[in-house]
Amino acid sequence: MQAIRQLIGLGLALALAARPAAGDGLRDLYFGEALYHAYQGQYFDALQRLDTELAQYHVVDEPELDSLHYHINNAEFSVGDFELDYRMHQRAGRAIKAVLEGAVDEAVRNEAAFRLARIHFQKDQLDDALQALARIKGKVPEEIRGDVEFLKANVYLATGQPSEAVKVLAQLKGNERLAGFVAYNLGIALLQDGRPQEAIEQLDKAGQLPASDPAGLAIRDKSNLVLGTILFELGNFERAKQSLDRVHLEGPFSNQALLRAGWADASAQQYDRALVPWNILVDREPTDAAVQEVILAVPHAYASLKLHGRAALLYGHALEVFSNQLERVDASISSIREGRFLNALIREESREDETWVIRLRNLPDAPETYYLMGLMASHDFQTALQNYLDLEDLRSRLTAWKTSLDAFDDIIRLRGQNYEPLLPEVDAQFQELDSQMRLRIEQRRHLAERLQAILTAPRPDYLATAEEQIAGERIARIENQLGDSEDPESLALRQRAAHLRGALRWRLETEYNERLTAAYVHLNELNAPVDALTRQYDAFVRTRQAATHSYVGYDVQIARLRERVGDGLQRVDMLIARQGHMIETVAINQLESRRERLVAQQTEARFGVADSYDRAARAQSGGEGH
């Protein structure tokens, strides 16, 4: 199952890599910013950005006018992807379910169902994975069609339905991208289905497929390793050897293949042939389990060839190697117990490939992490390590937020101190100006109304100049003083007054149209200053509001956030301690099991030394005695 699981991991990694997260022609800058963070592995920042964008998108009245609208499907899937990358499977599942249940077209819904199935599968929730796969109906996007079928076969394999897996995988044989994985899985499915002969033939084909990329080479090597092991167990040593010899000498399965190839020869009693792969393996990294096995197997082969003297020397060397390794393992266990493993984890900056933990061994005082390689292959341990680092990252974020909240408090206090003494005076001045402005605007409105009214009922007197108005009033006053007297002097004056009134009226009547036009022009000329005034007024109101908003109304929010951040920090501290302890325990357990094996090997070596010397001596004395 380990072999199958690792294979599945590879297959899924391939499927994830195949999908580009960004489309062409980016229209939403903030979506682009989320991608910028994600491409650098900063998934927290990517998620925070995209969450905010999506939340805004979902509350606007007309989402089709929002720039995120052009990327909405991609954005919804990207959130799920980022959540998975940030090891938040539960949320990723919920995000994808939301897409699945939303009003989306068939292709998008099918892709969502596929992604959901993949999450369930990764988390060993096999029934849910099957259910999600069953929701895929109708049109499946071309680029994921092969991945959907491949996943289906993997789920069938994991749920003990190998015959179903065989059917699905047989249909997938033509898929070039997945060729190696399909060929290998088909072999495993046939084996599980109780068809060993067909499985052997299938794995034989898988072991000879052309491959150029590292993943393709690895799966081909794996096929050959598994096939070699099956044939070995069936006692077909010669064919087992052929298959094991095909494993690439530099690949990740090379050590195991060399070890087993030697055993295939040794089991056929061909110890001299067994020594060929074993002597290659014996000089490799001495912390590797296969190398440690071969350190004992080589003298065993010499002993079987009755070369007891050489066997004795090599058993002696083995004893030395195992003693050294035991010391390293013991030192590593102590180092882990002293917390140095976790410290090294945090110190190491480059975490780009899966073997980054191995590189920790190069740091001063770090434990021998090479012994943790087996653990590293397990998804759970990788996740546990990454989670530990995520928690460390969260701790520094929360600490920084705490500081930010204090700084916000300072800003608010300083702004309050600055604005509060100024604002009453500013407000008083503003009120005065405001009332003047309102008056002027009211006057303008009144004039406009009067002009509008005299369009239908002409009133030339409304358009008299101030001088004319004064003149008119003086004439009226004179007429009033003259009264109704009939004396000739008064009559003459009244006539003159009437004449003046007539002249005035003449002017008003004849110039009426020009004056009306001029009045309109003047009124319109007022528009520009009034508009400027209004803009200034609005700007002032905004600035005035901004002044208040810059320090009023934050207290509750900041107090609440401070409480949440403090609570978060406590939880993170507690989780870091627990997660760290768990990682240390798992690593120590792993080292202790390797230690146990080393002790057993040391005993075997010790016995081998004694036995070989004994035999060599007996052979010698037998020879001398004769």
Binding site: Q2, I4, A22, L29, G32, E33, L35, Y36, Q40, F44, L47, Q48, T52, A55, S67, Y86, R87, Q90, R91, D124, G160, I188, L191, T229, I230, E233, R260, S267, L296, A297, H300, L305, K306, L307, D380, T383, A384, N387, L398, W401, S404, F408, I412, A539, T543, Q557, I558, L561, V565, L575, Q579, M582, T585, V586, N589, A600, F607, G623, G625, H626
Partner: protein, 280 residues
């Protein structure tokens, strides 16, 4: 080596002949002589096997009255065979005891390492260890705190924006690379109204993210409403390693809502404009 092994084989053969010859001595002579030492031989077939698989141990002895096979087997007949299924590499020792003393022989059975494909094909359910359960339990709690932290982060950035970059004055400048551009962008320098506001130097990782289509928010700040001058300077290297530098002068208008300015950069060898300004 071949000579050496032949010599050993020859010696072994002679010793065997001597033993046979011993056995043929007349009884009287034998009685006079001290009791003959016992001898014993043990073999295992196959010498290596996967854990738990059957291995046959065969032994024979001379001049022995009792034979013990260890570990785990105990007293046995003076010659015979038995099946063992060792779970780890084991050295079996047969001890022959007779009137002339005792003799030992050993045979090593080595367990071939690694999981065999047939042994590991059980369904995965039900295999979880307590460690795994514990890991998953913690994993769920970590997912929860991550969710909470994301919510807090959103609120924090909202608060920060309101306090430090209110929408009335906010301006944000973004940088993107023209699609497919191969220049190596080293640095971008921005001035707003003659004031230096950003001078960013790119790491390889950041450049890679830009090349893949990511967009960097290089600057967030405050400006008043109205027109503003933006000066952009980019430094970079061409594919051949030659340095190049470009400048651009733009004007943007800030209104009451937040202003987003996007700069799309391209190397001199592409058909794109070196610095293009887009407003959102």
């Amino acid at each position: 080596m071949r000579f050496h092994s032949l010599r050993i084989a020859a010696l072994f053969g002679l010793a065997a002949l001597a033993l046979i010859a011993n056995g043929k001595k007349p009884i009287s002579a034998a009685q006079l002589a001290p009791p003959t030492s016992p001898s014993v031989a043990l073999s295992a077939s196959p010498a290596s096997a996967p854990a738990g698989q059957p291995v046959m141990l065969t032994w024979s002895s001379t001049n022995a009255t009792s034979i013990t096979l260890e570990p785990s087997v105990g007293p046995v007949a003076t010659q015979g065979s038995t099946i063992v299924k060792p779970s780890q590499s084991t050295t079996y020792t047969v001890t022959a005891t007779g009137p002339g003393g005792s003799a030992h022989a050993t045979a090593q059975v080595i367990i071939t390492p690694g999981p065999s494909p047939t042994a590991v094909q059980k369904p995965s359910q039900g295999e979880t260890t307590s460690e795994q359960r514990q890991m998953r339990g913690l994993d769920e709690q970590i997912q929860e705190i991550k969710s909470d932290a994301l919510r807090m982060s959103a609120e924090m950035s909202q608060l920060e924006e309101k306090l430090l970059y209110p929408s009335g004055t906010q301006v944000a400048i973004f940088v993107a690379l023209a699609k497919g551009d191969t220049m190596r962008l080293d640095a971008v320098r921005l001035q707003i109204d003659g004031q230096l506001v950003a001078h960013y130097i790119y790491s390889a990782k950041e450049l890679q993210a830009l090349r893949k289509g990511g967009v960097q928010r290089i600057y967030v700040g405050n400006v008043s409403t109205g027109d503003h001058k933006l000066d952009v300077l980019i430094d970079g290297k061409l594919e051949g390693g030659a340095d190049f530098s470009r400048t651009g002068e733009f004007t943007f208008r800030k209104e009451v809502k937040p202003k987003l300015v996007g700069l799309t950069l391209a190397g001199p060898r592409s058909s794109n404009i070196p610095i293009a300004l887009g407003e959102w």
